[in-house]
Symmetry: C2
Subunit: 498 residues, 2 copies
């Protein structure tokens, strides 16, 4: 028996257990490699990976330390008596090996894998194995099985609502912030839209990052239900809801290894929405040579996959393939994107027109989920709501209800990237722009990012500013600068104006 200690270290989604090298209850000499243990004493065993402590001022020989993640799970007070044993290998790891060997897995194998991931019986390395192996190929039935497994048991119920809507963008185009405008329009119209957003995985800013510039996004289930009842709309970080646990754990690993595979993404999106109790979903797939989805052929394949899974799991899915050839709006990075969003909602003259039009188009399709609305009227209804200021009013209510955020400042390290020749902007490379933004610190600091002054088709004079880089700290700023000089992401045609 050992005494429980909260070893107050946060390790980002991996459970760690700390044991003294001269532990009074177990011989540690034989632990020579990363070892998974089961910790007994709580309601359910908690799984963690052993770390060996050789300094008694950190941990005493009769203590077992649990990092913050594991301590939360075991739910016992410090000093409680606990015991450990070597954890048997998670049985479903055999299925991961089968997948590595190129097999098609059954739905019960996916259930077992996702169950073991939720119970944290997989190390981050095990999860990586699963992601890379299944990422190389999955059949449609496998994606369906994975989605269903990831929905899990904990589903939010909206007992008084017939239709609960949401929107999701497949991403890959910097400046994706239509969601916030759409939520305002749909809420103003009166359809319930509990928008579950996530933090940036590989982009400059996720919707949760951008909206957290305006309001608190850590909303629990009870609060979310109250918000929807009162305002019809809310934008929350889905991590604050008790749903799709495995997907959260998997996302952390994907973020760390920088891998997002399209079929996993499809399963992940649909699983979150199903677990959030959504009944009708509009999905935006931007396609373009430098977007996440490169061609309309590929976009169509994903559309069919999403539709198929939606149909099988009774989720109304309406997929739109949109123009993903260049960033949307001007700002990239949370603060700059939030600025663009508010400009559109306020009907400002300098509001980015592409952002406004795309938001109206998608919001219109959501409104058409309402049986009361005549087909084809969605766009006009959305435009009327935006133009009249009712969308802004709804947004202000939502912000107030969720809790207004102390607005972070834009970074004060800036650099203007200028055109080296006169001509017309021929193309803007999304991946390049995203990379420069990420290096500038946008995925870490809301105040970092890029502000685009020129978009595709715009005329530029030599020396004119194409965009401005904002960084919060000097290391990021140096990174972004070192990269941008090789390739700004802009292609200027010298053919002159037409």
């Amino acid at each position: 028996m050992l005494k429980l200690k909260h070893f107050a270290v946060s390790s980002f989604n991996e459970n760690l257990a700390y044991i003294h090298k001269d532990c009074t209850a177990y011989h540690i000499d034989n632990v020579m490699t990363l070892t998974k243990v089961e910790i007994h004493g709580g309601v359910k065993p908690v799984y963690a990976f052993l770390q060996i402590v050789s300094d008694s001022s950190l941990l005493k020989p009769d203590e077992l330390g649990l990092n913050t993640e594991a301590f939360k799970q075991i739910n016992l007070p410090e000093g409680a008596n606990i015991s450990i044993s070597i954890a048997p290998q998670a049985p479903s790891l055999i299925s991961v090996k089968r997948k590595i060997a190129g097999n098609i897995l059954t739905s019960s194998e996916y259930d077992a894998i996702i169950g073991d991931i939720s119970a944290r019986r997989y190390s981050n390395m095990d999860i990586t194995s699963f992601l890379v192996a299944s990422g190389s190929f999955m059949t449609t039935s496998e994606v369906l099985a994975l989605t269903e497994a990831m929905v899990g048991e904990d589903v939010i119920r909206w007992d008084n609502e017939e239709i609960v809507v949401d929107h999701h963008c497949f991403g890959g185009v910097p400046g994706n912030k239509t969601d916030i405008i759409i939520t305002a329009i749909v809420a103003a119209y009166g359809l319930p839209m509990p928008k579950t957003a996530s933090r940036s995985l590989t982009s400059c800013a996720g919707v949760a990052d951008t909206f957290s510039v305006l309001a608190n996004v850590d909303i629990d289930e009870t609060k979310l239900k109250k918000l929807i009842k009162e305002n019809r709309g809310a934008i929350v970080d889905y991590n604050s809801l008790p749903i799709a646990t495995a997907n959260k754990i998997i996302s952390e690993v994907e973020r760390s290894i920088g891998l997002t595979q399209l079929q996993h993404l499809a399963a992940s999106i649909l699983a979150i929405k199903l677990a959030a109790g959504i009944t009708h979903l509009v999905i935006d797939i931007p396609a373009g040579p430098s977007a996440r989805v490169k061609t309309t052929t590929e976009a169509m394949r994903i559309r069919k996959l999403l539709e198929y899974i939606g149909d099988m799991l009774s989720l109304g899915v309406d997929v739109h393939i949109t123009d993903g050839r260049e960033p949307i709006g001007n700002g990239i990075g949370a603060v700059l994107e939030a600025r663009d969003v508010m400009k559109v909602l306020r009907n400002k003259e300098d509001a980015p027109e592409d952002l406004r039009e795309k938001s109206l188009y998608l919001a219109g399709h959501i409104l058409e989920f309402d049986p009361q609305l005549r087909g084809g009227q969605g766009y006009f209804a959305a435009r009327e709501i935006l133009n009249s200021g009712r969308a802004l009013e709804a947004m202000n209510k939502i912000i107030y209800a969720q809790g207004k955020a102390p607005q972070p400042q834009l970074g004060n390290l800036t650099r203007d990237i200028v055109a080296t020749q006169s001509g017309v902007v021929e193309s803007i490379n999304n991946e390049r722009i995203n990379k420069i933004g990420v290096l500038a610190g946008a995925s870490q600091y809301p105040g970092a990012g890029l502000d685009l002054f020129k978009k595709v088709g715009d005329k530029v004079e030599q020396g004119e500013t194409l965009y401005r880089i904002y960084s919060v700290n000097s290391t990021d700023f140096a990174f972004a600068n070192s990269v941008v000089d090789g390739n700004t992401g802009y292609e200027i045609s010298s053919k002159g104006s037409f």
Copy 2:
């Protein structure tokens, strides 16, 4: 600037950096995911992953803690001034993504990947990605490139030796301990054999585990050279030598995820031997339905691969495909295997004949690397050395020179597995026997394992003992027992004796 603290936690081959949530030098609020940092202040930057500490009794806000692995690398005293910055992504991770997408990588890409792994710029997740992705397919040129990259810069030179020999077994057959007997014979003959052994990856005992029952195997390069000069033979844990760093890091990950892919194994074996300065190598590939290599066709394919890489990198490779249908010898697990080895060296009547013959066969082929020895005479020379007691004498010298180990005890939890019917042992499943041994604790405790009393072809009476399980601790014992009842690994034919 922060003050360096040795945060005395050992995390098994991953560098971790601990920073206080109220750090005086950096804003930590924005760190929301596993983040790689560069630590400056030492000779070279050290890479580590951030962990956030929220308890000032563990770490003060003006300190940066490094775990034991990272602290060793930075090589600065506690209290030294250090700074950190977010590490840019290791550039070679782009090649890992290319491999995930199914591309063939160039040799310079493999160099970059292995270089970044050696510098610990990859997380264990990144390494897993690389292993799973490259494990799905590699061309012969890619395996060659990987091998060459893993040899690295640090190669042991044997300036006064023309021939330096070694032996390696591909594994997968429990009880593999020919290496120790071979080393004794070859050393007695007079060829230099610095046997680089490793700890168990997925088996009950690696050669380094078994030999550490008899002698110290942590030998540094200077000591190794002295040993070879004086005794011609030595058996060392290659982890104690400053060679093939990337391979060590990769092996830890392979051990953790339980993955050993044959092409990686080929690259790993050859890289270690080349880095150890070996000029001539005998490789044993046991083939059998339950061995690592299942068929002679597969074994032949690996043989050709090993020969090709050997030829390209000027390593004399002599590959032998051997009978891998059942375990070799009787003991499985370090203590029991060491017992078998010493029985053979002492020419005991109850020494396992299969182990003796296989060792002579392989040792004979190593002796034939000596230009002085006539072709076909190796086996007879080896047998003469063993029978005359000269091999035992050489072994005793080696043990004495390396430092005799305090022999661990056999586990005192035992269970006899008996035949449920009379007949003849038809087959023994290597994988099953290995699994039961590993569950009994063999890969953790030298005193755990199995002792086989019956081998294929032996007659058994109902109730007669097939093998005995030894465990050191009760949890392992319970695991092994819970599994063995379903399937003992033995198949008994009831056809009666013949």
